[in-house]
Amino acid sequence: MGVRSINGEYSFPSRSRAELYGDDQLLHVLWRGNPFVCSAGTFRVPKTISFEEFVTTVLEPWAGADPDFIPGSEQSYQLDLVDFEPDPSLPLQDQGIGHKSLLSFEVSSYAVGDHSA
């Protein structure tokens, strides 16, 4: 069923549709298996940014809020809940990472530090 409305018509555009972000897109990033990071993050990124640049300028600074994160340890990527092998040099849009896609990863190693600042 759909929405029941008084005049039988009910159609409105999405408030998060791709065109509202110009040359950018939204991307959700989830660190699987790390409850210290409570949820996935949502980022606005250029569609043409390479995967490698995205990782070093967006993903790793975000994951680095957890002091035990080791940059470069990301592995086992999934895109929209399916296993995914990213190409570091290709732009996001050329490897199927679309508006509001969900990119997730695990890490191969995880430091356990004393967290002194």
Binding site: M1, G2, V3, R4, S5, I6, Y10, S11, F12, P13, S14, R15, S16, R17, A18, L20, Y21, L26, H28, V29, L30, R32, G33, P35, F36, V37, C38, S39, A40, G41, T42, F43, R44, P61, W62, G64, A65, D66, P67, D80, L81, G98, H99, K100, S101, L102, D114, H115, S116, A117
Partner: protein, 502 residues
């Protein structure tokens, strides 16, 4: 008839006797909103409303309650009552109440006023009118009660603006606007039944008992003052559902679907209360788990739904998943608010040792295993002079708008992600319940004003976090870590002065 009518006669004359059948225009033109939902009503006179008070006696009772409340507030202010709170930390619970609950009272006032005009029957119109007045009174008394704290503590100065703008307050706001933008019968099942009957004790009692245990006499008095109104509202919810179910068998599946939807919507909303109960009260009342078992499992599933079975109504869809979350819900939500409180209008901190042990006792199967290690690590970071805050913005559920923090049923370590493609665009929901709600009415939820998406679109004051916080109306001392906050500094200063003076 004698000159002076009895109370019952006056009530009947007022609520039923003044009704008339329109003859110049069609009834459908006068009451245009009560048909499109598909609900069939054959006889409005069967509505037996719970507001058996006439307007003059109603105002007399409410005025007496107000007098008592305002006397308590005056006494509290004159006697420096804020110093007798259990701790300045407690006020965070009241910040959440003022920011997130008081605006709902006002929204309820507005929408019941609309229903008081548009229901066909005089009985429900009068009931809606009385509830509208109640809700306005609640808004005003809550604002007056908590304004005495606004002079002393941060986070309480701009609550109407914050309700409209701040990310976690979009949870209650979108909940209520979902109901207000539905038809008048769905609203009744959403707010009067699912919210005010099914879940009200889970919402209201924790705040008021929390006030009582933590030295907050004005809020406790407000709670007592509102309680008799709330019990009328609960009765209205129950009356409404029985009326709809008895009017026509075709109404049963519609009502059931609304119960299924609004139970889950309301349950996700009260996840904010779950963390308040377990984490924001310095002196504990009961755990969320205990509260959920008593007020929901025992009273509602055990009592109410056993009665409703007679009408062919079954317990809400996805209720088993709610029950399955009772050992983890409050911890997951509190942990999320801890790492995003730099962008909230309240403060958070790592629970102290005694508090952590209380949580272990209350949640023996889950706390030490899944959650204590998180707080221990956060404490180590704080001991080293840092403070763990998230470095980004959280992904939000398209339906409940809570950050996507919830985990798979039966697996507290795997974040749940539900995905739908609708007209070529991806949408994420946090749970089977929210996904089911999205799939029923995707046209509605694609319009969701998701705070994170809006911030990133640039519609919330600017591109940086400080821009957004300024647009939220947050001021120094409203947000972030409690230890070292302005509230804590003031609290320590006030109490040092008392000790020096005594």
């Amino acid at each position: 008839m004698s000159k002076k009518l009895s109370m019952q006669q006056r009530y009947s004359a007022l609520t039923r006797g003044l009704d008339w059948t329109p003859t110049y225009v069609d009834a459908e033109q006068v009451y245009p909103y009560t048909r499109f939902e598909g609900i069939k009503v054959h006889d409005w006179s069967k509505w037996d409303d719970p507001f058996r008070l006439t307007v003059d006696s109603y105002f007399k009772y409410q005025a007496e309650k107000d007098k008592r409340l305002y006397a308590v507030i005056d006494g509290f202010v004159q006697g420096q009552g804020h110093l007798s709170l259990s701790d300045a930390k407690y006020v965070n619970a009241m910040k959440l109440f003022l920011q997130g609950v008081t605006p709902l009272e006002y929204a309820a006032h507005r929408h019941f006023a609309y229903l008081a005009r548009y229901y066909d029957g005089p009985g429900p119109r009068f009931a809606a009118l009385c509830q509208s007045i109640d809700e306005l009174r609640h808004t005003q008394t809550e604002v007056h009660t908590l304004s005495s704290y606004n002079k002393m503590f941060g986070g309480m100065h701009s609550w109407p603006q914050q309700f409209d703008r701040v990310w976690y307050l979009s949870v209650p706001k979108s909940f209520f606007e979902d109901a207000m933008s539905a038809g008048p019968f769905e609203f009744l099942i959403a707010i009067s039944f699912s919210f005010e009957y099914l879940l009200t004790n889970l919402l209201f009692v924790p705040f008021m008992s929390g006030a009582s245990f933590n030295g907050d006499v004005p809020t406790m008095t407000f709670g007592f003052s509102a309680q008799s109104d709330e019990s009328r509202h609960m009765t209205l919810g129950l009356e409404a559902i029985k009326f709809l179910l008895e009017q026509d068998e075709d109404n049963v599946p519609l009502v059931q679907a609304w119960i299924d939807k609004w139970f889950w919507r309301g349950y996700r909303l009260v996840s904010l209360i779950a963390q308040m109960l377990d984490y924001m009260l310095p002196r504990k009342v009961m755990s969320w788990k205990e509260s959920f078992e008593l007020y929901f499992e025992e009273q509602m599933l055990g009592g109410l739904f056993a009665d409703l079975e007679f009408y062919g109504i079954r317990p809400p869809k996805h209720v088993d998943q709610a029950i399955g979350e009772k050992e983890i819900l409050s911890h997951q939500v509190a942990w999320t608010l801890y790492q995003f409180s730099h962008a909230a209008a309240f403060t958070t901190t790592v629970p102290d040792a005694e508090h952590l042990d209380w949580l272990s006792e209350q949640y023996p199967d889950t706390f030490d295993k899944y959650f204590r290690p998180l707080w221990d690590k956060a404490a180590r970071i704080q001991e080293g002079g840092g403070r763990y805050f998230s470095g980004g913005l959280p992904q939000l559920c398209q339906v409940c708008q809570v950050p996507m923090l919830f985990t798979e049923p039966g697996d507290p370590t795997t974040i749940a992600q539900r995905e739908n493609l609708y007209e070529g665009e991806r949408y994420h929901t946090c749970s089977d319940g929210c996904q089911w709600i999205f799939e029923r009415e995707p046209e509605k939820y694609v319009q969701a004003w998701l705070p994170v998406h809006q911030i990133l679109q640039g519609t919330c004051g600017g591109p940086t976090i400080p821009d957004v916080l300024a647009w939220y109306g947050l001021q120094d001392g409203d947000s972030g870590e409690y230890v070292g906050s302005l509230d804590q500094q003031d609290w320590q200063k006030w109490h040092a002065e008392i000790e020096v003076g005594s």
